[in-house]
C-alpha cells in the first residue's frame, strides 16, 4: 500500500470515530448545530480524501451519506432515532469499506456491496422521494463544508487553495496547451471555482492567434501540498506567472494578489467573487467606500482615489462584522490545525527500538556503576551516579512516549452501550471516569477485547429488565460505569453495573454440575463469584448473541494474565457487580527490588513491595506468621525453587502486595533497588510458575524476575488447602481463581 493510502485510512478512521461520537451526541441534543456541522465535516473530509486517492467506492457511498447530512444541516430533516441509527450503520459500513481499501482489494465483495445498496436505499427513503440520483454534480460546484454564509454576502470558499496563473505569450508556440495543465490540476483535487481571464487578448489587429493571452483564477480543493500544485506547472514554469495562495489566506493576501496582477483591480475583484475567494459584500463595501472617497472633498491636493485593495484592508472591521460566522469557523479550523501541528506521528516500531536502546543503556549504566564502586574512586563514582540519574530520566521520558490515555478506548463503548441497550430493550447509561489515566500503548490495544466482553456481559446479564428494576425499587435506567485509576504502580480498570449481581447459589450449583468444584468443598464468597472465570462456565440458560456462551470469561482472564495482570469480581446480590482488572503500568522496564537466595539474585517489582522485615528464627512447620496481629502467609524462595545450601542465620522477609492480598517471601539477603529491563523468558519456559522474566545485572549475571501475581496465588492456595478442611470459613483473604 502506498503511503498516501495508508495516511488516508488512518485519518479517515479518526474522522469516523469523530463522526460516530458526534452522532451519539446528536441523539442527546438534536439542536446542536455545531455538532451537526462537525459530523458533516468529518464525512466530507473522508469523501474528499477518497477522491484524492481515487477510491471511488468509498467516495460514492460517503457522498450519499453526505447528502443526508446536508439535508440535516439545512434543517430539511429532523433528527430521529431511526435517522441516527441509520447514520451509525453508515459509519460502520464506511469502516468496512476502509478495511477493504486497507486489504488492497479493488472493490468490496458482493455482501458488502449489497449492504451498501440497502443503506443507500434507506438513505434515499429518509431523504424523501427517491429522486433522480441526488446531486452528483451540483455538489462539486460549491463545497458545502467550507461555504460560509455571511450576511447577504454569498458564499466563500475558505479552505481551498487559490491559484492564479497567467500564461506567457510563447506558451502555445512552445507546443504547450494551457488547458491540459488545468485539467491535470483537476486530478489533484476538486476545482470548486474557475474563471478564465481573457482580458489580455488585444484588439484584432495586434492579436497573434498563435500567442497565448489567457489566464485562470482557480479555487482548488485538494490535500496536495503547494509543491505538488507548483509541479503541475513545471513545464511552463518559466513562461507563466503563477501565484498560489494557501487555504484560509487572509483577505490582505488576496488584496496583495489583486495588486500584483496586471488586470484592473475592479475586474479582479469580480473574478475573485465569482470563483468564490471573496464575498460580494466585501467587494460592495469596498466599492461604496471608493465612491465616498471620490465624492469627498477633492481639495486635498492629490485626488488619489484609493485602490480597492486598500479599501478592503481598511475595512477590516466591516469585514469582520459581516463575516463573523466565517471568522469563528476559521478559528475553529485553525485551532484544530494548531492542535494537529503539536502532534507528531511516529511509527510504533521506531519507538520500540528507542525503548530497546534505553533498556541496553540501563544495563550498561548499571555495569559502569558497579565498576566505579569497585574502583573506589570518588570522582568516578560521582560521575556514574549522575549518569545513572540521567539514564533514569531518559528511561522515564522514553516510557512516557508510549503512554496513551485510556479515554479513547472508553469512549468507544458509548456506541456499544447504545446499540446493545436498544437491542435488549433496556435503558442503560454509561458513565466514564478516569479517562485521562495513562497506560502503555500496547496494553491499551490489548485490553480492548477483554473490556468489550466485560461491558457486554454487564449489559446483558448484569442490568435487569426495566420491569424487574422497578420492582426492586431501582431507577428504570440502568448504569454501567467504566473507571480507571493508578494504584501502587499498577493501573486498575473497573467495569461495574448496578444490576442484579451474581447469584452465588446458582454459581455453586453450576460449578458442581460441571465438576469444577467437588461436593463438600468449602469456598469463600469471593472464591465462588470468581468461579465465573473458569473455562466452560456460564450460568445463563439462554444463549444470546451477545455473551453467555460460556467461552468468554476464561478468555478474558487469559488475555489479561498475558499482560501480567489479573482480573477479579466482587458482587453484592441485588445491587450489582464490579469487575476489576489490575495491570502493570508498563511492560518494558520496571523499578526492581533485588534480593539474593544462595548465589542467585531475584528481582521483585518494587511497586509490589510493601515492607521488609527481619526474621531471626522464622517459624518452622507452618507457613504463616503474625505480622502485627495479622496472619501473613509466606513462602521460602529457597524451598520454592529448590535451591541448595543452608539458609543464613538471619533471613529477611519481603512483604508484597498484589490485588489486595499480602504475602511474605523469605530470602537470604536484600540487595536494594535496581532498574530492571524485562527480557522475556522465551518459548522454552512457558509453564514456569512464579517467574515472570529475566534481566541482566550490571555484573553481566542473569537475575530472574519474580511473578508476584503467581507467587501470591501459590502462597494463598497452599494456605487454603492446608487449612480449609479444619475451618468452616477461611479468615484469610482468598485470591480469585483456581
Amino acid at each position: 500500500m502506498d503511503e498516501i493510502t495508508g495516511v488516508f485510512i488512518q485519518e479517515s478512521r479518526e474522522q469516523l470515530a469523530e463522526m460516530e461520537s458526534g452522532l451519539l451526541r446528536l441523539e442527546q441534543d438534536p439542536e446542536d448545530q455545531d455538532n451537526i456541522n462537525s459530523i458533516f465535516r468529518a464525512a466530507h473530509t473522508i469523501k474528499g480524501g477518497s477522491g484524492v486517492i481515487e477510491c471511488h467506492f468509498i467516495e460514492s457511498f460517503t457522498h450519499r451519506v453526505e447528502n443526508l447530512l446536508d439535508a440535516l444541516r439545512n434543517g430539511d430533516l429532523a433528527v430521529t432515532s431511526t435517522l441516527a441509527t441509520l447514520l451509525l450503520e453508515c459509519c460502520d459500513h464506511m469502516g468496512c469499506l476502509l478495511d477493504v481499501l486497507g486489504a488492497e482489494a479493488s472493490e468490496p465483495d458482493a455482501e458488502l456491496q449489497a449492504r451498501g445498496e440497502s443503506l443507500t436505499e434507506r438513505l434515499k427513503v429518509l431523504l424523501g422521494a427517491p429522486t433522480t440520483a441526488p446531486a452528483s454534480s451540483d455538489m462539486t460546484l460549491h463545497d458545502p463544508t467550507v461555504e460560509v454564509e455571511s450576511s447577504g454576502g454569498g458564499i466563500v470558499v475558505t479552505d481551498s487553495w487559490h491559484i492564479s496563473v497567467r500564461f506567457g505569450e510563447n506558451v502555445l508556440r512552445g507546443g504547450m496547451e494551457p488547458l491540459s495543465f488545468i485539467r491535470y490540476l483537476a486530478s489533484l483535487g476538486e476545482i470548486v471555482g474557475l474563471e478564465t481571464i481573457t482580458d489580455a487578448i488585444p484588439a484584432a489587429a495586434e492579436m497573434d492567434p498563435e500567442s497565448c493571452y489567457i489566464g485562470f483564477e482557480i479555487q482548488l480543493q485538494t490535500r496536495s501540498s503547494k509543491a505538488d500544485i507548483e509541479r503541475v506547472f513545471d513545464f511552463v514554469r518559466d513562461e507563466c506567472d503563477l501565484h498560489i495562495l494557501p487555504p484560509n489566506s487572509k483577505l490582505s493576501e488576496y488584496i496583495k494578489r489583486i495588486e500584483e496582477l496586471p488586470e484592473d483591480s475592479m475586474r479582479l475583484g469580480e473574478i475573485l467573487v465569482r470563483c468564490g475567494a471573496l464575498t460580494q459584500t466585501e467587494i460592495d463595501q469596498g466599492l461604496l467606500n471608493q465612491e465616498t472617497a471620490c465624492a469627498g472633498p477633492s481639495t486635498d491636493g492629490a485626488p488619489h482615489s484609493p485602490q480597492l485593495g486598500e479599501i478592503l484592508v481598511d475595512n477590516k472591521v466591516v469585514h469582520k462584522e459581516l463575516v463573523e460566522a466565517a471568522v469563528v469557523k476559521q478559528t475553529q479550523v485553525n485551532d484544530k490545525k494548531a492542535k494537529e501541528a503539536r502532534l507528531v506521528r511516529v511509527q510504533a516500531d521506531k519507538l520500540d527500538q528507542l525503548i530497546d536502546l534505553v533498556g541496553e543503556l540501563v544495563i550498561a549504566g548499571a555495569s559502569a556503576n558497579l565498576l566505579a564502586q569497585k574502583s573506589r574512586q570518588a570522582g568516578l563514582v560521582e560521575a556514574t551516579s549522575v549518569l545513572s540519574r540521567l539514564v533514569e530520566n531518559i528511561r522515564d521520558s522514553a516510557l512516557q512516549l508510549r503512554m496513551v490515555q485510556i479515554g479513547d478506548t472508553f469512549t468507544r463503548f458509548n456506541r456499544v452501550v447504545r446499540d446493545v441497550s436498544k437491542e435488549l430493550g433496556k435503558e442503560i447509561d454509561l458513565q466514564i471516569s478516569g479517562a485521562e489515566t495513562e497506560l502503555d500503548k500496547t496494553v491499551v490495544e490489548k485490553i480492548g477485547d477483554p473490556l468489550m466482553h466485560l461491558v457486554r456481559n454487564s449489559l446483558d446479564h448484569g442490568i435487569e429488565p426495566v420491569a424487574l428494576r422497578l420492582e426492586r425499587g431501582k431507577p428504570a435506567c440502568g448504569r454501567v460505569s467504566l473507571n480507571a485509576f493508578h494504584d501502587s504502580g499498577s493501573i486498575v480498570i473497573e467495569v461495574s453495573d448496578d444490576g442484579g449481581g451474581l447469584n452465588k447459589n446458582k454459581i455453586s450449583a453450576k460449578a458442581l454440575e460441571r465438576g469444577i468444584i467437588q461436593p463438600g468443598q468449602q469456598l469463600s464468597e469471593a472464591e465462588i463469584v470468581n468461579l465465573i472465570f473458569e473455562p466452560g462456565f456460564s450460568t445463563v440458560d439462554k444463549v444470546s448473541n451477545l455473551s453467555g456462551r460460556g467461552v468468554g470469561m476464561d478468555v478474558v482472564r487469559r488475555n489479561i494474565q498475558a499482560l501480567r495482570g489479573a482480573v477479579n469480581v466482587t458482587s453484592v446480590e441485588g445491587q450489582g457487580s464490579t469487575f476489576s482488572i489490575h495491570l502493570p503500568l508498563t511492560l518494558a522496564i520496571i523499578d526492581g527490588f533485588l534480593v539474593g537466595v544462595g548465589k542467585a539474585a531475584y528481582v521483585i517489582p518494587l511497586d509490589t513491595v510493601v515492607e521488609c522485615i527481619e526474621q531471626k528464627e522464622p517459624p518452622t512447620g507452618r507457613s504463616f506468621l503474625n505480622l502485627r496481629g495479622e496472619a501473613l502467609p509466606f513462602i521460602r524462595l529457597r524451598d520454592l525453587f529448590e535451591i541448595e545450601g543452608t539458609p543464613p542465620a538471619r533471613e529477611s522477609i519481603v512483604v508484597i502486595q498484589f490485588g489486595g492480598q499480602k504475602a511474605g517471601i523469605v530470602v537470604d539477603q536484600l540487595m536494594g533497588e535496581f532498574q530492571t529491563v524485562i527480557k522475556p523468558l522465551g518459548v522454552m519456559f512457558p509453564h514456569l510458575q512464579g517467574i515472570g522474566g529475566s534481566t541482566i545485572l550490571g555484573s553481566g549475571e542473569v537475575a530472574l524476575i519474580l511473578d508476584v501475581a503467581a507467587l501470591v496465588r501459590i502462597v494463598s492456595q497452599s494456605e487454603e488447602q492446608k487449612f480449609l478442611p479444619e475451618r468452616n470459613t477461611p479468615s484469610l483473604p482468598v485470591h480469585p481463581g483456581n
Binding site: P209, E210, C212, Y213
Partner: protein, 101 residues
C-alpha cells in the same frame, strides 16, 4: 437586418489552424452585422481556439455587432464549460450542445 448564412467551421479550432481561422472569422464578421457560427463539425478545440472565439466576440461587441454560436460540437462545449465561459459567451444555443453525442 437579414442575417447571412451561418458560417460553418469545419477545421479544428486549434493552434494549427489558428492563423487561417483568425482571418476567416474576422473576414466573415466584417461582412455582416449578425454573424452566426456553426461549430458542430469542430472535432477539437484548444486554448488558441478559445482565444479566437473570445477575440471574435470582443471585436463584434466593439463594432456593435453580434456573433452567435448556433451549434456546438462536443469538443467545443466541453472546453467552453470547463473554462466557465458559457455565461461570458452568452450563447443560449449552448444548451443543445448537450444533446450532441
Amino acid at each position: 437586418m437579414p442575417s447571412s448564412q451561418p458560417l460553418t467551421v469545419t477545421e479544428d479550432l486549434t493552434i494549427y489552424h489558428a492563423l487561417e481561422l483568425k482571418e476567416k472569422l474576422l473576414d466573415a464578421l466584417s461582412q455582416t452585422a449578425d454573424l452566426e457560427l456553426n461549430l458542430a463539425q469542430v472535432g477539437e478545440m484548444d486554448t488558441a481556439g478559445l482565444q479566437l472565439l473570445v477575440l471574435l466576440k470582443k471585436e463584434a461587441q466593439r463594432a456593435g455587432k453580434c456573433v452567435r454560436i448556433v451549434a456546438h460540437s462536443q469538443a467545443v462545449s466541453a472546453v467552453v464549460e470547463f473554462c466557465n465561459m458559457a455565461a461570458e459567451f452568452g450563447d443560449p444555443l449552448l444548451i443543445p450542445a448537450h444533446e450532441t453525442p
